[in-house]
Symmetry: C2
Subunit: 340 residues, 2 copies
Amino acid sequence: MAQKIKLSTIADALGVSTATVSLALRDSPLVAGSTREKIKEHAREIGYIYNRRAASLRTSRSGIVGVVVHDIMNPFYAEILRSIEHELDRSRQTFLLSNHYDQLDKQRTFIDTLLQLGADGVIMSPAIDTPASDIIMAEENGLPAVLIARDVDGAHVPVFRGDDAYGTALATNHLISLGHKRIAMVGGTDQTSTGRDRYQGYVNAMEAAGLEVMPSWRVPGPRTKQGGFEAAAQFLALKDKPTAACCWNDLVAIGLMNGIARAGLVPGVDISVTGYDDLEEAQIATPALTTVWNGQREVGRRAASALLDKLNGQTVRLSQELIKPELHVRQSTGRPVERV
Amino acid sequence: MAQKIKLSTIADALGVSTATVSLALRDSPLVAGSTREKIKEHAREIGYIYNRRAASLRTSRSGIVGVVVHDIMNPFYAEILRSIEHELDRSRQTFLLSNHYDQLDKQRTFIDTLLQLGADGVIMSPAIDTPASDIIMAEENGLPAVLIARDVDGAHVPVFRGDDAYGTALATNHLISLGHKRIAMVGGTDQTSTGRDRYQGYVNAMEAAGLEVMPSWRVPGPRTKQGGFEAAAQFLALKDKPTAACCWNDLVAIGLMNGIARAGLVPGVDISVTGYDDLEEAQIATPALTTVWNGQREVGRRAASALLDKLNGQTVRLSQELIKPELHVRQSTGRPVERV
DNA sequence: CTGAAAGCGCTTACAG
DNA sequence: CTGAAAGCGCTTACAG
């Protein structure tokens, strides 16, 4: 490895000061055009590498934004991340990704790392049981936060998410309108705000239609394809045999449909299934999945742009409007068939 | 935000020097046990945050490792990333993830960022057409690299990947042994070493069995579920109607099976399909996918551990043994049925 | 076992 | 338009 090249290397070579070089490289109008070009040219030639640590130590801005979610490999978050990536790329921020897998200590370690690196801000889908104090602590130490998908009571930071109760009500009402009366809710957890909201939407719709809400028709837990697949046996063994499943999300719905197919029944015919999120995969699934569009792109876009606003000192309203979900009807839902 | 707390804040409060505080916080044996405890206790109390930028400026180690792949949301890379994450977490390295989407300039921007941040190393699955000089430049600037999944000629860095030619030969031979004679290869690209190797393995197996390799039976391109789904029409319209498809990867295979099902045929019965990678999803697919285990976990583990070795100054052998793939037979392959 | 001082490579007032 | 100098918050010889 050759001798380290730094600002002063350039300054010495060209007979100017490091201040001038620094300004020139950042296109400051304070530097004469000809000087600037000469400096930039030379820097390129000798392969100068800007030292962001040194700069950041001095300016206390790092150009790093943290993003932490339950699991970046989950397509739901993946779609949000893509739009965050798109938004942040334009403002030349580097983003540090992490999974917390709903482990509070993993999340804390990550926030700590961000603080140590002097990150400019963080976008988070908080782990289950995240106390407001964790977020307040971050903010007090100069790490502004915005939340996505899940809320934290008392955190006093902007949250971007869909109207979950409304969304599951859309799906449930669709099933009811097809004639289903025994509808199960498969997957999800009461431990997140999202989980509670989605279940509530289902309950609301059932009650509004005068249908009975059987506690046993709730199959909590699954949140992945694997989970939905495994839940199929349990669902099919439910007493009073529900004719439809309102699933926690698309992954659970697709897994459940696979499990139902393995049991020799035809999803979309024998059993109606709805998803939630409208992942790209929903259209490819067989049968194509009836689901609720949840505005992932929009969530990511708004969250990133709100964080950038915050970084630029603008105030961001705490109460953000919920994104209105939309029902996308495909082939996985139909009129009920009595099961024997 | 309260007054910034730094080493000297602690030093002043306790009447010791910053040198002592620095050493104590890093558990140096040079500091007396009682002093150390007093310092650590106090630091915790007042909420001291270690400034890694400052430390890294001084030590020129950042604790950051970069990882760049085609697309982190692709389950194939996701599984590799999980094991990298697992491995690096143990050594307390922070890792910066990025997608290059096979765009050379995105990859270059990322490598630049790593250099600027003083990252300790990088694990990459190089973008298509990555010149060896890009990797050499990184190494010369103090950013050691190891490659995963794809090789770059002349880069002279360790590569961790499976034996792709052997793997597709396994799948193809399995189909041949079931009695298939007209086997198509669906998906993949000749632009990566992996793509060329996998196709070669298929060709080798066909030729070894004395079967004709029809150029028209190659359907290049698809690498995702969506791609496989869309390729179904093309596959089904192939002349001489192949009875089996050896797919580029599991995603393509699953997409293709969905497309075949939509066309009214039964995958695994009317058409045999093999995947590659053995993603978690392969078992859940309907029918369960016959596929080639590709050792993702192993690739990630070995790459991370090799990079850590490199960081610690150990020499890492350039020529790494290829990971031996294994065939996992499930329900998506069977004896050929003549199509009308 | 502990402290004083230099230095990592930038940027930013300040002066000219 | 350009330069000299201080300082961001650490760590590391070096001295005691």
